[in-house]
């Protein structure tokens, strides 16, 4: 089942390339297929451990086997991958050169499922590295004016970071003789070496997440990427970093993780505030969203740093919430640029909401989600994360609500300057821009999903609870 979710998109990819006009349907079909697989696994998941395992031996004596298996965390993220793939396809319905575009989307989709489903470190790394290739072309070909710089920077930066994961993986193999998750977990690695491995892989994962001080590739990549690709970057690629940290560092080396709690907390807090202040200062519509995205990932790292069941389920919830909310914001920022022809809030002036109510209202809804307004998934994510952090770290965690205030600050200020007020000269001159239905659907779907998750958070919480409890118990004991 998992193998088909990896292979089907990859097999469809060449067809998409050669049948230019039908490419989007292939992509849509693959997205629906992955979502369905995710849903089926979600409903049939037994509640603990790895399920739906598949082991395809390639070279058993080297432990190079395509060992697939998922738990609650992976199922949640695979389902998210499928949903985002569908919505991204709909948003890219009228893209230029659809054959090549959807070819890359499909290849990326297969690799993405592979990242979340691999229980073999080497295969995980293969999928992990391969995701860079389609993203490089997406940003570089379909991106904005400074796209080539952003694409090359994105590839080199994250590839350089990956060598630390690579080295960690090699050390694990030499010490245990295994790439397999289950086997490594049972192996007995001295604690000092565990710490070295942990630290090496940590560097690789936090660059992808990204957190301060390794975040500088993200604003460039996001701003230059076309909006649907920004959605993939924010919604899926960043999740890889947090997923890798949870699966291959914390779950694998619970003992070593405890030595790095305050490192993670420190980096997390630094990220939260650095990104919030940077966003406050930002005049660029999309760059502001990018910093807000970094801000959220900092919160995820703080939640992970608690190493408690509550913190980890909050982190997973926040990951999903962030994917839905920030994706919407990136799409809207892209549309605002498309309509006005400028990236800068100060140039747009005011009165955007009155001329373009649909886009404007969605921007406000997304901003409310991002700043954690009750009723949205952002609220639940932030509250649970702050609660977990307070429970563990005490008063230090009370700094976090201030970052929420800052987030509220820059978004409300942007809304005030851009959406409300007198209609500026620039906005007055703009032509009406009716969005086709097919592009409205994904936007409304993001809102529906994060409001649904905000009102009924138990959908996700009850599902990942078992995972978080088990992990929390291991980490606590």
């Amino acid at each position: 089942m998992l193998l088909s979710a990896i292979l089907l998109p990859v097999i469809l990819a060449p067809f998409a390339y050669f049948f230019d006009r039908q490419a989007k349907y292939f992509s849509l079909a693959a997205g629906i297929f992955v979502t369905l697989i995710g849903a089926v696994m979600w409903l049939n998941y037994p509640g603990h451990g790895f399920a739906f395992e598949q082991n395809i031996p390639i070279l058993p004596q080297w432990d190079f086997n395509l060992h697939l298996g998922v738990d609650a965390l992976a199922i949640a993220l695979i389902t998210l991958t499928g949903i985002i793939a569908i919505l991204v396809t709909l948003s890219s319905w009228n893209v230029e050169r659809p054959g090549a575009y959807f070819f890359l989307i499909l290849v990326f989709l297969g690799a993405m499922v592979g990242v979340f489903a691999s229980l073999n470190y080497l295969w995980f790394f293969i999928f992990w590295e391969f995701t860079l290739v389609p993203m490089f072309f997406h940003i570089g070909i379909w991106g904005a004016e400074n796209r080539i710089y952003a694409a090359v920077k994105f590839f080199l930066y994250t590839h350089l970071a990956s060598i630390f994961i690579f080295l960690a993986m090699l050390i694990i193999y030499i010490k245990t003789g295994h790439f397999d998750f289950v086997a490594i977990k049972q192996a007995n690695i001295p604690i000092d070496l565990q710490k070295v491995i942990w630290a090496l892989a940590f560097i690789g994962f936090i660059v992808k997440m990204p957190v301060v001080p390794f975040h500088t590739w993200l604003p460039d990549a996001h701003v230059q990427a076309p909006s649907p690709i920004s959605v993939i970057l924010a919604g899926l690629l960043l999740k890889m970093g947090a997923y890798g940290l949870l699966r291959w560092n914390i779950e694998l080396f619970p003992q070593a993780s405890k030595h790095f709690i305050y490192l993670m907390l420190g980096i997390g807090l630094l990220t939260v505030f650095h990104a919030a202040f940077k966003a406050l200062y930002e005049d660029h519509v999309k760059r502001m969203v990018a910093y807000s995205s970094i801000n959220h990932m900092g919160l995820v790292l703080v939640a992970i740093a608690t190493l408690t069941a509550a913190g980890i389920s909050a982190a997973i919830y926040e990951m999903v919430a962030h994917a839905l909310i920030i994706s919407l914001m990136f799409m809207i920022a892209g549309y605002i640029h498309h309509i006005t022809g400028t990236w800068y809030i100060s140039e747009i002036g005011g009165g955007f909401l009155r001329r373009f109510p649909f886009i404007g209202v969605l921007y406000m809804l997304g901003a409310l989600g991002a700043l954690g307004f009750p009723g949205t998934a952002g609220f639940i994510g932030e509250v649970t994360a702050i609660y977990a952090a307070f429970d563990k770290f005490g008063w230090i965690a009370l700094a976090l609500p201030f970052s929420a205030v800052l987030t509220a600050g820059f978004f409300f200020w942007a809304i005030r300057r851009m959406l409300h007020g007198e209609i500026s000269g620039l906005v007055a001159k703009l032509h009406p821009h009716p969005l086709p239905l097919v592009e409205r659907i994904p936007l409304m779907a993001y809102v529906a999903l994060f409001v649904l998750l905000g009102i009924v958070p138990s959908i996700l919480f009850s599902f990942v609870n078992g995972y978080a409890q088990t992990l929390g118990k291991i980490l606590g004991g």
């Binding site: 391969f130 570089g140 694409a151 090359v152 590839f155 060598i163 030499i174």
Partner: protein
């Protein structure tokens, strides 16, 4: 050597000798010339594959047969055939094409023979059989540049042969034997003076091998020769001959010097770091695509040296063999694409490649796959080779070497990616499509090399099993 394989080598060599004569005697057309050579290659290939399971050993004192050399034979043969097709397609108008192809087949026979050598004399003979015809190949098109390249290659090659002979002399003087394994006797028998004497001989042999495999500080000729020669010949020189030498060198160092592993590990580690860094840094500064590939081939020699430095690990041999196989496919493939770029489009530099992805999507795609494999991006053979090599380095307690190597390969991505960037992300400027579609056959052939380098990035079993069988023959 296996007698079936040996007859395959003879087929290639005598085919190379006779086909040009037949072609000139009967005034065969160019198409028939290629067809005849294809028949020769086909017969040789059948024999090579038949030799996997059949045949009895021949000249056991000079040659040995093992899984790694049999495997490499097939890759050298297949890639050699692709090179042949490309040489034919891009040197069609050269008058002495029959002789060029004949000499090429003889040289390839030498390359395959090199794989089996386990004696200093047979190694010397096989390497000379491989190298001497290549001086002529470099001058396939006679002009000032190719003559310069050939002269450079000739003088360096002659010097290397001289050094090699001096090394052999020393070994023979001390041991009275020319088998690789005989060197071990040195460590039992000789006094301090003998060891010092041997050290000179060892350095002489290392220098000769350094020339053949182009690692620092013997790399200076490589960029000039590989860019001066016709690119299809450079594909043969850089892609095939360098990997072919790696296998007997494994045998030499692992068998002959097994007593002194720790001593020469550090020497190889230093050479590896030097070679990788020099190759990658200079490649970054290049404009010409062929020159980038030439410097990257130096860097790849450095990765192989990582394997020699990590000889204490059981994974090292697998790493070197995997790298040799992957390297044949991707480096020869990349140089062959450069051949087609120069021949059909007149593209030589990175900038001229702008927008090539739109001009010829298929060729650009094949080139991209080969470059990604060279860069070590998964899932390609180049990636698996790096996993094995650096794993061996970690295993041999040289994690620092693995880190330096990884850092190097991460920086190397920059120049490969830069070529890809020029092809796909920039707009084309004035490159015209060729008038006919004759580029299609060589491109498809090179596409097969690219396909194989992806296949062996996932299906690692045959290469690893062959190298494990090979490893068991070596003393550990």
């Amino acid at each position: 050597m296996n007698c079936v394989v040996f007859s395959g080598i003879l087929t290639l060599a005598f085919g190379g000798l006779l086909v040009p004569i037949i072609a000139n005697l009967f005034r065969l057309s160019r198409e028939w010339l290629l067809n005849l050579f294809m028949v020769v290659f086909l017969i040789a290939g059948v024999l090579f594959i038949y030799g996997f399971t059949h045949g009895h050993p021949l000249y056991p004192n000079l040659f040995t047969t093992d899984a790694a050399s049999l495997l490499l034979t097939v890759f050298v043969w297949f890639t050699g055939a692709v090179v042949l097709v490309t040489i034919y397609n891009t040197l069609k108008e050269v008058e002495n094409l029959p002789e060029i192809l004949g000499v090429y087949a003889i040289s390839l026979a030498g390359a395959i023979m090199t794989l089996y050598a386990n004696n200093f004399v047979s190694l010397l003979v096989a390497m000379e059989l491989m190298t001497i015809p290549s001086y002529y190949l470099i001058m396939a098109r006679l002009n000032a540049i190719t003559v310069e390249a050939a002269t450079k290659y000739f003088f360096n090659g002659a010097l290397a042969t001289g050094f090699f002979l001096f090394g052999i002399l020393v070994v023979y003087a001390i041991t009275g034997d020319l088998q690789f394994a005989a060197i071990n006797k040195i460590f039992h028998a000789t006094d301090t003076f003998g060891m010092l004497f041997f050290a000179f001989g060892f350095i002489a042999i290392l220098s000769a091998i350094g020339f053949k495999m182009s690692f620092a500080p013997y790399h200076f000729y490589a960029p000039d020769v590989y860019t001066g020669a016709p690119a299809s010949v450079a594909a043969y020189l850089a892609g095939i001959t360098k990997s072919a030498v790696a296998i007997p060198v494994i045998r030499l160092f692992f068998e002959a010097l097994s007593f002194q592993k720790e001593d020469w590990a550090i020497l190889f580690a230093v050479l590896a770091v030097l070679t990788m860094t020099i190759g990658n840094l200079l490649a970054l500064a290049q404009q010409s695509v062929a020159r980038i590939l030439a410097y990257s081939s130096i860097a790849h020699a450095g990765y192989i040296l990582v394997g020699f430095a990590a000889a204490a690990s059981g994974l090292a041999v697998t790493g070197i063999v995997y790298q040799a196989v992957a390297y044949i496919l991707m480096k020869a493939g990349a140089f062959l694409i450069v051949t087609l770029l120069i021949y059909y489009y007149g593209i030589k530099t990175r900038e001229e490649l702008r927008g090539f992805g739109k001009v010829n999507p298929f060729m650009a795609f094949v080139f991209t796959v080969l470059l990604l494999s060279l860069a070590g991006v998964p899932p390609t053979a180049g990636f698996i080779a790096k996993v094995y090599l650096f794993q061996a380095a970690v295993d041999a307690n040289m994690a620092w070497l693995a880190f330096v190597g990884l850092l190097n390969s991460a920086f190397a991505v920059a120049y490969y990616l830069w070529i890809i960037k020029e092809m796909y992300l920039e707009e084309p400027k004035g490159v015209e499509r060729p008038k006919d579609t004759s580029f299609l056959i060589p491109t498809v052939a090179i596409g097969l090399l690219a396909l194989l380098s992806v296949v062996f990035g996932i299906w690692v079993t045959p290469i690893v099993n062959a190298s494990l069988a090979f490893t068991q023959l070596l003393p550990f």
